[in-house]
């Protein structure tokens, strides 16, 4: 069985390498690959590249940071993991392994063994990229230590997946079957509560003094009393990775292997029928991969079992662009889950509370966070949310059968995101203005109002330019942009993204030149009339108008491109 797993991994790796090398004969992949190699060299391999910040810390702090990091990942995995399968099997694996004369344990062992190879490579690459100085035997030991960490995380996730599956499959009897595991988790939760109740006030005081004192106090908690018992498995797992000599590594290895072994025993000992869930998952993954290979994308059916969020019904009479805006707005709404909102809310509250100093009021901090959020929405929103042609171009064949002009499609596709992002950023900015309205230490209220007007005029303009640049990329270079919700991976994909980002930034600068000129002219002309911030506001409104004109022109041009676009030659056609 191990030999079979080894053979499969060896051949898979060799064949995929061969395919990738053959693909480099195509100029677009060669150029992208070269750009990716350059990026890798520039970021990680040249002398003076980034070094691991972990290596700059003292040994105790390093251990505390590593334990904290591992613990947070584990808790997030437990709390947020939604995968319905303990191991992501491929469709071929489900077809061959599940039908083969193998016990469930053998299948799991096979999968665990195969997973380790990928984890070893990941660990090697991580250590290679973030190493300090030249390669040495200790570097190799670091890689082995990191692999152990990855492996435990992987197995822990699988074990939790099996537990979740058991509870979902068997309900109350599933609880009985998993009594042992559940008791362990209950004890862990209780002990954590006990430790937290005692130590959190101490830790809070220490971190208020400074981060060094804070980490020292945390280290103390991790090494004494119940905290030491609770954190032992985590400390055992990170110890080999943090070892600085072969002897230290050897000393730390048995404990880490024990934790690893317990996890293997936990996962392999499970008798849960995971095959159906694994097959479902494999089928969805296979569809996604097939779509990506076809140059399209595929959406993971998020919350497909839940009833979709209701929305105002679309009036069958009205503009076609409005219908496309409605469709994409609905997509954005359904993409956001309650979990995302809770995470954003918790992060904001925690951030506000932790940054609050003796002289800073909560409302000031909230204002700063709201402004920060508005900035993020304006600058990163158009890149992160892909509910426009970047996603819908996979539906090009369908879109082209509709009796609408290309410019209408482009307007509708860009319009939805523009509307949502501009409203969100505008609302955040206005909220920041409102929560700090009584603050006397800030500029005069009238001036702040002028700044608000400038921001409200500028935000949609900037978002529109960003979105149009992104949509221009996908229409002009469809083979270079990942169409659909997923992102491509690999060195070529990194190179493609790098080149496209440079191109997008140049286009952005070029597009903003007329607006900047008009902004400057209006500001200069009106400075004697209204003066100060209000001349900036007038300039911003004029600049936004110029951007609006440019965007209108761009939509007309892109509409023509869309009308002439051929799914077959664009590499988007499904057949």
């Amino acid at each position: 069985m191990i030999a079979a797993a080894l053979y499969l991994s060896r051949r898979t790796w060799a064949n995929s390498l061969r395919v990738r090398l053959l693909r480099l004969r195509q100029p677009k992949y060669m150029v992208a690959f070269s750009a990716g190699v350059f990026y890798l060299w520039f970021m990680f391999l040249r002398r003076g590249g980034p070094v691991s910040s972990l290596g700059l810390l003292g040994p105790e702090t390093r251990e505390t940071v590593a334990v904290l990091f591992l613990g947070v990942i584990l808790v997030l995995n437990w709390a947020l993991q939604t995968s319905e399968t303990p191991f992501p099997f491929t469709l071929a694996e489900t077809q061959f392994l599940f039908a083969a004369p193998m016990t469930r344990r053998q299948v799991l062992l096979f999968k665990i063994f195969r997973s380790q190879m990928a984890l070893v490579i990941s660990a090697m690459v991580t250590v290679f990229l973030f190493r300090r100085g030249a390669w040495s035997f200790v570097t190799l030991l670091h890689a082995l230590g990191l692999w152990l960490g990855y492996a435990v995380l992987n197995l822990n996730g699988a074990g939790m997946g099996l537990l979740r599956l058991s509870l979902a499959q068997h309900g109350v009897s599933g609880v009985r079957r998993r009594t042992g595991t559940l008791i362990v988790f209950a004890l862990l939760a209780g002990a954590l509560w006990w430790v937290g109740r005692q130590d959190i006030p101490v830790l809070t005081t220490a971190f208020t003094t400074g981060w060094r004192a804070g980490f020292a106090a945390l280290s103390q908690v991790l090494h004494s009393g119940a905290g030491a018992i609770l954190s032992w498995p985590l400390r055992a797992v990170v110890a080999p990775f943090l070892a600085t000599t072969p002897l230290e590594f050897l000393a730390a290895l048995p404990a880490a292997l024990l934790v690893f072994g317990v996890h293997v025993w936990w996962v392999v000992g499970s008798s849960i029928a995971f095959e159906e869930a694994a097959t479902d998952h494999a089928q969805r993954t296979a569809k996604r991969i097939a779509a990506l290979r076809a140059g399209r994308g595929w959406t993971e059916p998020r919350g497909s079992r839940a009833k979709p969020l209701t929305s105002a019904a679309l009036n069958p009479v009205g503009s076609a662009a409005g219908a496309i805006v409605w469709k994409n707005r609905l997509g954005i709404k359904r993409e956001f889950t309650m979990r995302s909102l809770v995470l954003v809310g918790v992060a904001t509250v925690v951030g506000v509370m932790s940054l609050r100093g003796p002289r800073t009021s909560s409302t000031d901090l909230l204002g700063a966070f709201l402004l920060f959020g508005a900035g993020m929405v304006t600058l990163l929103g158009p890149l992160a949310l892909r509910f426009d042609l970047r996603r819908d171009l996979e539906m090009l064949e369908v879109l082209k059968t509709y009796p609408v002009r290309g410019r209408t499609v482009v307007m509708g596709e860009v319009g939805a995101l523009l509307l949502v992002l501009a409203l969100t950023a505008g609302a955040l900015t206005t909220a920041a203005f409102l929560v700090t309205i009584t603050n006397d230490t800030l500029p005069a209220l009238a001036d702040r109002l002028a700044i608000l007007v400038s921001a409200l005029a500028g935000i949609p303009a900037v978002i529109a330019v960003f979105l149009l640049v992104q949509n221009t990329s996908v229409l002009l270079f469809p083979a270079w942009v990942t169409v659909g919700p997923q992102r491509a991976v690999g060195l070529e994909a990194t190179g493609q993204r790098l080149l496209l980002t440079i191109g997008s930034l140049l286009a952005l600068v070029f597009a903003l030149i007329p607006a900047a000129l008009l902004f400057g002219a209006v500001m200069w002309l009106s400075s004697d009339l209204v003066g100060g911030p209000w001349s900036v506001a007038l300039g911003a409104v004029a600049g936004a108008g110029a951007v609006g004109g440019e965007c209108w022109l761009a939509v007309q041009l892109l509409g023509g491109v869309f009308d002439r676009m051929d799914p077959s030659s664009a590499g988007i056609a499904s057949s």
Binding site: P301, P316, K327, G331, E394, L396, E397, D566
Partner: protein, 240 residues
């Protein structure tokens, strides 16, 4: 209703379709058959405005697709073999969205009627990821019928359907033709073509090798008298 004259489509040096001319009258079901790579999909995509012909003209309801694509596309519906749907729109929302794009009149009445006709009422609030392939196919058909098109183009309409679904689909096609729609149907299922098509167009390597009713085609080939469409197809395309 559907008039194709001299349709030619090149992909670089490759001739996908060459000088293809045919028409489909209202009430007629024309079967488009041919071996793999014969140019069927290219023809269908050209007819629906998905790709532009290299040469030739296409008229839908008397409107030139090249000159006035919006008005021409408004009269046709394309049902592809692979149902492409928006992942984040429910069944009913797909219909509302399509109705608006096609400016379909009376959509508020037609939507529930179509949902009932295609047995999708219970799934009106379901997302495409919750539908079986057959149901996804039905939804595509419902979207295609929402604006009461004058011309219908089907690409392998029976793919993924169960026996009951196949029967209903055949009935839908025949009914639409009886109501006056021009239907173009592309399929490898020659018994389906033989059963519901009034005429047949056989394509090979991008060129038309025969068109007409089966007796009309047989008239030119006395050696094939009494043979099935399958035999005729294999003989004419040299696949036998």
């Amino acid at each position: 209703m559907l008039q194709v004259r001299g349709l030619t489509r090149l992909y670089d040096q490759l001739v996908a379709v060459e000088d293809l001319s045919f028409s489909v009258a209202p009430g007629e079901v024309l079967g488009l058959v041919g071996p793999n790579g014969a140019g069927k999909t290219t023809t269908l995509r050209s007819l629906c405005g998905v790709i532009q012909p290299t040469r030739g003209t296409i008229e839908i309801g008397g409107v030139d697709l090249g000159r006035d694509p919006v008005r021409a596309k408004g009269q046709i519906a394309f049902m592809p073999d692979e149902p492409h749907l928006f992942d984040y729109l429910t069944v009913e929302e797909h219909l509302r969205f399509t109705a608006r794009l096609y400016k379909a009149t009376g959509a508020e009445v037609r939507i529930p009627a179509l949902l009932t006709e295609l047995e999708l009422s219970e799934k009106a609030s379901a997302l495409p990821t919750e539908l079986s392939r057959g149901m996804r196919q039905k939804l595509v058909i419902a979207c295609g019928l929402i604006h009461d098109p004058k011309a219908l183009v089907f690409d392998e309409p029976l793919t993924g359907l169960d026996p009951a679904g196949i029967r209903r689909m055949k009935q839908t096609i025949v009914d639409r033709a009886r109501q006056g729609a021009a239907v173009l149907l592309s399929s490898h299922l020659l018994h389906l073509v033989e059963e519901i098509c009034t005429r047949v167009l056989i394509l090979q390597r991008g060129r038309m090798v025969a068109i007409g009713t089966i007796p009309e085609i047989l008239a030119g080939r006395p050696d094939l008298q009494g043979k099935s469409l399958e035999d005729i197809f294999l003989a004419l395309t040299g696949s036998a």
